[in-house]
């Protein structure tokens, strides 16, 4: 069971590394989608089946496509991100993240309570997820619903094409 986990984990890390390092923006987006898919597989392997498929549906199906769409809309020709590879700010950024990783890794390695091995994932059936969602997690569910609608309307408002003042054809295409 662990071998499968490690393979998928390796996949995730390779995808993430590719997302960060590749210069071409489109390749970043696609490797990001690959990382999300690998993460979805990891959730499946860990037994959280529902979360795995939701992850693929939401991230690979929607968020990655949105990112790709925005890339298409904003910089179709300037794909190569130029600029020196090792400028001062870049080294600083890498240093900071390495420091963060060091502390977390040290904490995980040193802490005593994380020794237990993962038990075989028992099937979590949909019934219990449904009941749980609508009983003890009802408030967060409704709150997320409201949040999603607000985000939807907000995104539409931001991305809407303001009518170019004075030109009549945009009025006409608005009605």
């Amino acid at each position: 069971m662990n071998v499968v986990l490690f393979i998928i984990a390796a996949l995730i890390l390779v995808g993430a590394l590719a997302t960060v390092c590749v210069r071409n923006l489109v390749y970043c987006a696609l490797s990001l989608a690959a990382t999300f898919a690998a993460l979805g597989m990891l959730y499946l392997a860990l037994g959280a089946e529902f979360i795995g498929w939701v992850q693929i549906l939401v991230y690979v199906g929607a968020v990655a496509v949105l990112i790709v769409f925005v890339i298409l809309l904003t910089a179709p020709d300037r794909m190569r991100s130029v600029g020196p590879l090792f400028s001062r700010s870049r080294i600083l950024g890498v240093g900071v993240s390495l420091g963060v990783f060091g502390t977390i890794a040290y904490a995980v390695h040193k802490s005593g309570s994380l020794k237990g091995s993962l038990s075989m994932p028992a099937e979590t059936d949909m019934q219990s997820i449904g009941e749980e969602l609508l009983s003890s997690y009802l408030v967060p569910l409704e709150a997320t619903g409201v949040l999603l609608t607000v985000a939807l309307i907000g995104a539409v408002l931001f991305a809407r094409e303001e009518p170019v003042e004075g030109s009549e054809e945009s009025q006409e295409s608005k009605d």
Binding site: I67, S117, I129
Partner: protein
Amino acid sequence: MSTLQVLLTVSALLFCLGLTAALTRRSVIMILIGIELMLNAANLNFIVFWRAHGDSDPSGGFMFALFGIAVAAAEAAVGLALILLVYRHYRSTRSEDLNKLKG
């Protein structure tokens, strides 16, 4: 090094990769991609701890990850809409150019 610890280090590494992406890359879209990676790393942690807890009723970490995904999707949508707006106004997506607030 139990599998639990390995998975936690993996999610930590994922988090740091997201952090480097957000900090070092120039394009605004890459910053958003970095944030997405960090959010996913957090979700991974929730699921791993929920699985480490052992029982199969979906509470605690499972639910948290579920709502995490929903919120992250909403945030990505709004973020991208913002990027579009910024691009339409500034005509460029390089983060250096967006320095009007510097004063």
